[in-house]
Amino acid sequence: MKPKVAFYWCASCGGCEEAVVDLGEELLTVADAVDIVFWPVAMDFKTSDVEALADGELAAAFVNGAIRTSEEEEMVRLLRRKAQVVVAFGACAWLGGIPGLANLYGRRSILDYVYGEEPSLEEHDGARPQEETDVAEGHVSLPTFDDDVRTLDQVIEVDYFLPGCPPPGELIRTAITALIEGTLPEKGSVLAPDVALCSDCPRLPSKPEKPSVKRFVRPHQVQIDPDLCLLAQGLICLGPATRSGCGAVCIAANMPCTGCMGPVSRVVDHGAKAMSAMASLLEADDEAEADALIGEIADPVGTFYRYSLPASLLHRRREPEAAGRSPS
């Protein structure tokens, strides 16, 4: 009897599903090896199919996307009950991902902007989508959104984490194989190498023996040397602070690493560690000079926490209304 697996997406872009589809022929072999009982993006099975399962009947549930709504929360709790192994699939499920940058704004300010300020809006009475609406024919309701984006393991217990935006095919393959062959590592592991990207970087040999940065530049401001270490060119490359396993594809495309593979196991806060390394490398001892040069980074949160804000120590921007929610 083939192991049953489920794929599910929460607040995500669908890229993780695409990554699975991209396994191509292997998808067919995987489909042979396992019994996919739930996969909304590609197959017509419904929630009730999952509810019908006995607890633990699923060998594994692969969940991508961050958590924002009560519906998502219920669904992942359901999957947790049904699955022996839950895998947080991709940067959003593990760390919050780019949609996690929404934690820089409160729910209210986002609604105000999207439905109140954008230039293409019709002149209207400031109507907003309502959770409850009475229409001519009856009553219509919309789900409530939490004020913040949560990572999967901030909601349910997660056994494994598959990094990347989306996870590299190689890692997905290895993970699924390990699952089928029962060779998964100890629970809580991130299913990727536990060393930073520099170790894989084709440009490492071109890195200076003693790296340092005179000033940080932004990718659009310079002709980027296709062979020289990007950090040595003053570009903020998060390769030194980010897990390997992606094959350094962005760097191969002559663009700096933005950190989608997340931190290694020894790091608590991806952005903080990356900031520490970058700031240390800057050649400026005078306070005013250092501050000016650091100011040129322009957007520290978007730069160093692009994929990990909800998983970071601060989790979200501090809002006055957050005052009621202090940790006890």
Partner: protein, 147 residues
């Protein structure tokens, strides 16, 4: 922020370098300079050991402010540690600003081993500044229910 709550006692974690600021704090003690009890010192050998994660962890664990003390520029026992600390804190503070955390909550001070009274002054100042700002009240990181 809401108006200062006089009954609020700020929690402040301080990271002091062994050779200058920690020694200065000892001097303040030897000189019996009383100051606010709100500051709790974690000793590092050098301010250059400061990892921005420490500052964030302190705030996450309930500190309302963080004080970092190192040797004056040019005086670092390890020559360059304080400059590294300065750059890290400058960048960290810009990030904290973007995350809605007031500047005054994280403070870097150069305090030499001879400046016991500066330890006293800075600890008192910072305690009052943070008291005026009120509790940090970081939004709780969601904790999953035990399953």
């Amino acid at each position: 922020m809401s108006e200062p709550d006089e009954t609020f006692e700020p929690r402040i974690v301080a990271f002091f370098c062994n050779w200058c600021t920690y020694t200065a704090a000892d001097l303040a003690g030897i000189s019996r300079m009383t100051y606010a009890p709100n500051v709790r010192v974690v000793r590092l050998m050098c301010s250059g050991r400061l990892d921005p994660q420490f500052v964030l962890a302190a705030l996450r664990d309930g500190a309302d402010g963080v004080l970092i003390g190192g040797c004056h520029p040019g005086d670092c026992h390890y020559q360059l540690g304080n400059y590294n600390a300065q750059r890290r804190v400058l960048l960290l503070k810009r990030m904290l600003r973007a995350m809605g955390i007031e500047d005054e909550r994280v403070r870097l001070e150069w305090i030499s081993a001879a400046e016991g009274e500066k330890v006293q002054r800075v600890c008192n100042e910072m305690t009052e500044q943070v008291r005026a700002l009120g509790p940090l009240h970081l939004a709780a990181v969601p904790r999953r229910e035990a399953s």
